[in-house]
Structures are given as C-alpha cells and as structure tokens.
C-alpha cells in the first residue's frame, strides 16, 4: 500500500488553483455517461450529489433515513466558520488556516487545511443564495459570533439550528436535481458492502430497509459521505443510526483507515440518567461563557442539594487549576478534568452503575450579575431543552453536565483529491480522516463537510473520470458482483442464526461502549488499552454466538439493521485501541496518561508527526501500519498551554 498525498507544491495560497488548472475535465456531453454513487445525504453527501447532478453526471444517492433531509448534520447547533472578516477584526484565510492547524495539534495536512479555509468563504455565498436564513444584524448584513475560544468572530449561525438550515439548503438543491432527473435518490437503503473490480471501486451492495431486498448497484466510482463513528461508544451525541458500516466495509476491501484513535469528547452534555440511556444530548458550548463549573469538595456532599453546599465547600476546579482560562479552557481540557474529579468520587447527580457522572454548571452568579432576563435571552432555548430532559430548571438550580463523545477526527485515509487508497473510492465529510488533525475546532465540521461536498468532490470526481475515461462495463452477473452480494447475504444469515441466541444487539453494544469509553475515551493508558484489547475480541465472539434477532431479513427489521452496525463497531473499536496504544504521545483528543507534563498533553513530534493509516490484513487484531509523514512549512509546531 502506497500513501501518496498528491498535494500540489508551491506557495500554499495557489495550490488549489494550480491543482484545478492541471486537472482533467469531462466534457458536458460525456458526463451523463458516467454513473457516480454517493452514499450519504448529509452536508457532504447531499452537497456532492446535488452538485454532481447539476454538472450532468448520472448520480445515485443513498441514505438510511426515510428522507435525505434527516442526515445527522441536521443536529449541528452552534454554527459554521468562514474567513469573511465581516467583523473587521483581523480575520483572514491565513488566520483560519493557522487556527485550524494549531487547533488540530499539528497532526493535519497543511495543503488540505489551507484549501478548507479558502473555500469557507464560498460556502457562505452559496448557502445565502440558496435561502439559508442566517442570523443578521439590524443593518441587514450577516451576523457573526465568536465560538469555541476563537479570537475573532467568524462563526455564522441560524439560531441554534445552523446544521439544520445548511442541510435543508443542500437537501433542497438535491431535490431540484431529483426533479430534473439527474439524481436518483434511494432513502431507507443501506450500503452493506463495496464492489471492487479490477482494483477499482465499481459499486455497492445495498439492502432495502423496507423489503429486505439485497441489490447490487454498479457505477464508475463510489463516494462515501457516511458520517462519523462516534456511536462506537454506544452513548454519544450522534443520532442513534450513525454507524461505521460503509467505511468499515471499504476498509476491509483495502481502504486505509487513518487515525482511528482521534475522537472528540465534548464537555457540556446532559449526563446519563440511567442504564437505559440511549443517547446523550449536547448543550451548546456557549454555556461556559456564563456558567461556572464546580463539584463539592467533600465526598459526603455529593448527594446534598447544591443550594445547601456553602461557597467554601465548592470546588471550582477549572478556575483553580487554569486561572488564565478558567471555565473557558478548550474542550479536551474541560472534559478530562470532569473525568478526574468524578473518578475521585466528587461527581454529582444520579448514580448509574455505581458512579455519579456529573458536574455542576452554575448560572447563579451570572443571574445575580446580569439578571434572569439577560440569561433567558442568551440561553432560554437551551435551558428549556435541559428542563425537558433533566426535569430541573437551570434558573433555579445548577445544571448537571458531563462530557460525551461528539465527533470523530479519524476516518478513511484520503489524498488531496479525497480519494482513498482504493482507486475510484472517494470520501468526504466526517467519514474521511479530515482536515482536523487530532482535534476539531468548533464550527469547522460543517465547513469541512460543505467544502468537500460543494467544491472539492465535484471537481476531483471529474478529474478521476477524466483520467480513466471509459471503464469497461461491469455486468451484474460478473463474479466480483455476485460474490459481494453473496457475502452480504451470508453475513445477514449468520447474524440471524446465531448458535445460542440470547440478547438484543444493544446488550453487546452497551458493553462494547463501556470498554471503549473507560479505556479509549478521554484519558488513556497502556494498561487500560491492553486490557481493552483482551476484552473486545472476547465480547465480539460472544456477540456472534448470542446475538438475537427476531423476525426475518425480508421485511423492515430494525434489530437486524442494528446488529449489522454493532458487528462492525467491534472491529473498529479494536482498531481504535491498537492505534491509541501505538501512538505513544498525547495530542489533541488523544491523551495518554504516560505522556503529559503538569497535566498538559505532551506531543512527540520527533516520533509521531505522521498520520497513522492502517491496512486491513484479514485479522482485526493485526492490522498493518503505514505512515504518512507530516511537514509544516507555514505553521511551526508549538506547544499548547492553558495554564
């Protein structure tokens, strides 16, 4: 396996232009002859499918929800970054590039990040033209806010529903192409495998989720925009259906999987209330602007009502440990510290599996200082949502929060063209290993998904097709196709006929999630990771022996859908632990307890300034490692410090 990044050289600000100038094109009349499969209809997939259809390609787009409008991009709240410098506060493409490389803890590819920052401005133009109702100032111009500790206000937002409005913009563009007949949309259709022929990705095998019908779809190339794998933790802020099946199937066919251990844990989510918990809800990060984080100093106080704990017995641990940044330390620092205080037995709230995993986020000072009305204006919606879920009013008693998995920086390895190590297989959005390095900055995933979907993929897909020109036709009866279909059928058969069926797939998923969360979550160490690597294969064997699915595969069967996804999470989870064990340094979202200095992550640029890209070998426990070295010509690696 060769990892060639194919990034252009020369001054960074001209690389994308230069690359486009030297790329191949497909003449408009010939585009119709090329079939492109896009799996996923989120920001990345929806935007790519709509744009490719509009250019005249014959597009087939798939999603597992009943409508493309429901992809999980819909849930993004906070906003989207763009280097417009509308606020005249000194922002620029270079600054956004710089912040993103630094925020990613020097583990991303400079050329890609620069392109992302450049394209950010086009995204806003495109979205506004589509009618996305971004927030505006009284003068009628677009409003911005500062987000996630950025020193400039470059975040565009649409109330608390930025992802929803951006996705609806892409969805409506997609609808226009469906109506025009350039895109064939197949919702409730799950990709279960990839078809590789002659070393190239040539199609997918799907299951119709309404009828259970298994079908091959043949194309000239395949684009995977299937989102992140955060649900490997079982509990996360992702939608219940988010899964890694598509990328994992691609990985098993030879697509390298990069940096699986880079996952982001968001500090402000509503804590788990019981073992039945099915997902965790994110509360916007902006809450930390006015809320103070604390836990009781004494263990015996954790069950007391917070109002009854006197000031001197409250431990404002972020303010004490990080006087300069206080409650506004970056996501990973805030998350890790919550873990530490709760493992010391100082956690508050409901006890779940013998632990109280919650800390207070207290607005009483802010309410005293600014008045309840101001706080209501700022956070009214969030407070209402909290009350609906947790049953308490944050105006009266502190919120309880706890970190939860939110985003996965790892994913399919892609080159500058977003092509994986399988020719003809491309990947965009959260599904690829992305431009975020070891840590993603707030409001930059929407930006990346749309940059990939609207501006990069339509172009690089054309370049690929221009290069290969006409591919030999592939018949549905070809052995490569029938073999893939048979493999899918056999896997379903195996899932439905476990030798000693006992438990629903969730039973195993919860256990897997618990292992990954405790041993490959916010804070990792060698011992824990090795333990996880012993436990996961055992649990996986038990899963295949005891998973129980009622009903048949030839109908809507939601248990079967979940079982297939959980099966792949087992293998990916194992790879995450292997990757985390191998990366003997701390960087971004990957914190190894052995590599720290005064509680700060200790990067090892000498040994680990590379992308870890793993190759499938047939044995999930023994993947092969390939390294893509990272060089920094523009942003010189520096150490983070928030003390």
């Amino acid at each position: 396996m060769q990892l060639r990044s194919n990034e252009p050289t020369g001054p960074i600000e001209h690389r994308w232009e230069k690359h486009k100038e030297s790329s191949k094109l497909v003449a408009p009349a010939n585009r119709r002859k090329h079939t492109v499969i896009v799996v996923g209809s989120g920001l990345a997939g929806g935007a790519a499918a709509a744009s490719l259809g509009e250019m005249g390609y014959n597009v087939k787009c798939f999603c597992y929800q009943d409508s493309p409008r429901r992809a999980h991009s819909i849930a993004a709240q906070g906003g989207i970054n763009a280097a417009k410098n509308y606020q005249n506060d000194g922002d620029s493409v270079y600054r956004l590039f710089y912040d993103t490389v630094k925020g990613g803890d020097f583990r991303s590819r400079e050329s890609n990040v620069y392109r992302l920052a450049q394209l950010s401005v086009n995204i806003i133009d495109q979205a506004v033209a589509q009618g996305v109702p971004f927030a505006r100032e009284y003068g009628g111009l677009l409003a911005n806010r500062s987000f996630g500790g950025a020193q400039v206000s470059r975040t565009f937002y649409a109330r608390g529903q930025t992802g929803q409005q951006l996705l609806l913009g892409a969805y409506q563009a997609l609808c226009r192409q469906i109506e025009e007949g350039t895109v064939e949309m197949m919702p409730r259709t799950e990709m279960l495998d990839l078809i590789v022929h002659d070393g190239r990705a040539r199609g997918i095998v799907t299951r119709c989720m309404k009828t259970g019908k298994i079908s091959p779809h043949i194309a000239d190339m395949v684009v995977l925009c299937t989102g992140g794998y955060g649900n490997v933790f079982y509990l996360s802020t992702n939608a219940k259906g988010c899964n890694c099946m598509a990328v994992w199937r691609a990985h098993r066919h030879g697509a390298a999987f990069a940096n699986p251990c880079y996952t982001q844990i968001h500090p402000t989510c509503i804590p788990q209330s019981g073992s039945y918990q099915s997902k965790l809800t994110l509360m916007s990060e902006s809450l930390r602007n006015d809320g103070r984080v604390w836990v009781p100093r004494k263990k015996e106080d954790v069950t007391k009502r917070p109002e009854d704990i006197p000031e001197e017995d409250r431990y404002y641990y972020l303010e004490e440990r990080y006087p300069a940044f206080g409650n506004l330390v970056p996501r990973d620092v805030a998350s890790r510290n919550a873990l530490y205080v709760t493992s010391e037995g100082l956690g508050v709230g409901l006890e779940v599996d013998g632990e109280r995993r919650g800390v207070y986020l207290d607005f009483s000072d802010a309410i005293n200082r600014l008045g309840e009305e101001t706080i209501r204006e700022r956070y009214g919606n969030l407070f209402d949502m909290y009350e609906r879920i947790a049953g308490d009013s944050p105006y009266k008693t502190p919120m309880r929060i706890y970190p939860a998995t939110h985003y996965t920086m790892g994913g399919l390895w892609v080159d500058y063209n977003l092509q994986t190590t399988i020719p003809g297989l491309f990947s965009g959005g959260e599904a690829n290993f992305s431009d975020h390095g070891a840590n993603r900055l707030g409001a930059s995933a929407l930006m990346q998904g749309l940059a990939d979907g609207y501006f990069v993929l339509p172009f690089t897909v054309g370049n690929y097709l221009g290069e290969v020109r006409t591919l030999p036709p592939l018949d549905e009866n070809h052995a490569d196709v029938t073999r893939a279909v048979r493999a899918v059928e056999e896997r379903i058969h195996k899932l439905m006929n476990a030798p000693e069926p006992k438990h629903a797939p969730e039973y195993f998923h919860r256990k897997l999630g618990r292992i990954i969360w405790t041993k490959c979550g916010m804070s990792r160490n060698k011992e824990g990771l090795e333990e996880a690597l012993r436990e996961i294969p055992k649990l996986r064997d038990q899963f295949w022996r005891e998973v129980k699915i009622v009903g048949s595969g030839a109908e809507l069967n939601q248990t079967l859908e979940r079982a297939g996804r959980v099966a792949d999470f087992f293998e990916l989870g194992e790879l995450m632990c292997i990757d985390a064990l191998q990366r003997e340094e701390s960087c971004g979202g990957h914190f190894r307890e052995e590599y720290e200095e005064n509680g700060e992550a200790l990067r090892d640029d000498e040994r680990f300034s590379h992308v870890s890209a793993w190759e499938w070998t047939g044995n999930p426990g023994e993947p092969r490692l390939h390294k893509e070295p990272l060089t920094f010509e523009y942003v010189k690696p520096s150490k983070r410090s928030y003390k």
Binding site: Q65, S67, R70, Q130, P133, C175, R176, S278
Partner: protein
C-alpha cells in the same frame, strides 16, 4: 431530579405491512423511570420482547433530540403526545402517571401509507419539496453574500417558517389529513427572501399541485396542525400560501417553467 418508577399499560398498533389490516396489541411496561424518554421506554419494552422471542415494535427515530423529524406517533390521540412543542423523542416519562394506559398509533393519512407498526412512508413530503421548494442556484455561481442586505425582521420571519422539521405531525393531526402547514412553511420561507423572488411565480402553484396529487386533503381552518406542530410553525403561513397561490394563478400565463407539473 427525583425519580419515580411507573407501571404502564401500552396499547400499541401492530401492522405487519402496508396490506395488513393491523390491530392493537397490549404490552405491560413496568418499572419505567420518570427520567426515561418516551422512546427509551419503548427501547426497554422492545429489548424485553426480543428476549422473549416476540417481534419488537417498529418505530422511526434517529437524532432523538427533536430536530431530524424522523420520530412521530400518535400518543393517546395526540400527535407527538401530551407535551406542547415537543417531539415524541423529547417527551419524557415524567409526563405520565403510574397506572396510565397509553395508546400508540402511527400517523394516519392516505398520503402516509403504513410501512410497519408505527412506521409510515412520508416520501410524499419530499416530493412536495421536489416540486419547487428550492431556489435554483448553481454551485459556485453565487455572488458575495453581503451584497444583498436583508432586513433582520424579514430574515427572522423566514427563519420562523424554516423551522419545520418535516415530521408530518400536522398531517396526522388534521381532520382532512392536509399537508398545508408543511407546504406553506416552505413556500413562505422562500417567498419572504429576496433570493426566492425569481421562482416565486410558479412555486406555490407547483408545490400545492403536488400536495393535492399526493392525496392530502385541503385546509378548512381547523388549526389542529399548529397545535400539534413540535416547532411552533404558525398558521399564518397557510394564509400566506393562499395569497401566493392566487398571485401565481393570476400571473400564470407569464413565465411558466416548461415541463413543470
């Protein structure tokens, strides 16, 4: 934060497929924590059904935070259940009392055929959007975003209309099974904005024609849709849609898109 445990009797609509007649089935849900969400309660019931070799209840859901619009069922006769402005995935069990009987049914409308149990086919809503619920702008051809200021009040109103999550509760709640609120929300969002003016002429006509073709009923001002809508989408948009419709009828001789339905 105090927790109580509830015992409930569920009467759930079970239907094997679109052609099955369907029936209610009764299940006991015991020891349900008041902190659970309604769908988590169903998860618990389903896991138990699976362990006992019984077919679990099919229902749609994804985000479970009230934004994707996947979930939806009629709980005790009310679309999305008893809590105002709340999708069923955000409904929590503290809204119920111990010993309650709970009736669960799918959205019932001729435009929404049942797929299985509580899952219905809402693709008709997608087809209404396909009939004109967009602004045609080629990727990459947009002009600088701040060239066209839009008054904040207008932008805010457009956002109000754009809040719709496409769940279909308005249809389920309407005695005529009309999709007017859904359709009107999109027509209003786009017609309020300057970007949406070029296609304004046709939009209302083609989208409403599609709504009718899908077998949804007409609006006779019951207002049940607004009451059921989890996003507070306002009835005023239906009045606006009707004005748009008149406008496009009057001017339909000019500039009709060729090939439009």
């Amino acid at each position: 934060m105090s927790e109580e445990l509830l015992n409930l009797t569920l009467h759930v609509w079970r239907q094997d497929g679109p052609n099955d007649a369907g029936r209610f089935e009764t299940h006991q849900a015991n020891g349900i924590s008041t902190h659970m969400s309604f769908l988590e309660m169903l998860d618990v019931v389903n896991e138990d059904l699976i362990e006992r070799d019984k077919s679990p209840i099919a229902f749609d859901h994804d985000c479970r935070e009230g934004i994707c619009g996947s979930c939806g069922m009629v709980v005790n006769g009310v679309a999305h259940g008893p809590q105002k402005l709340t999708t069923v995935c955000q409904l929590h069990m503290r809204q119920f009392d111990d010993g309650h009987e709970v009736w669960l049914e799918p959205w019932r409308a001729s435009g929404f055929p049942v797929v299985k149990d509580l899952v219905v086919d809402r693709s008709a809503l997608d087809r209404i959007i396909q009939a004109g619920g967009y602004i045609s702008i080629r990727t990459g051809s947009a002009s600088e975003a701040n060239e066209m200021p839009i008054a904040k009040a207008i932008a805010d109103q457009a956002m109000d209309a754009a809040e719709c999550i496409g769940c279909g509760a308005c249809v389920a709640a309407c005695p005529n099974a009309s999709a007017s609120l859904f359709t009107a929300a999109k027509i209003s969002h786009l017609s309020l904005l300057p970007q949406g003016q070029a296609e304004r002429q046709d939009r209302a006509r083609t989208m409403v024609a599609q709504m009718d073709a899908e077998g949804f009923g007409g609006c006779t001002n019951h207002g049940e849709c607004e009451a059921a809508c989890p996003k507070g989408v306002s009835l005023q948009w239906i009045a606006r849609m009707n004005r748009e419709l008149v406008r496009s009828m009057v001017r339909s001789d000019s500039g009709t898109k060729s090939g439009r339905r």
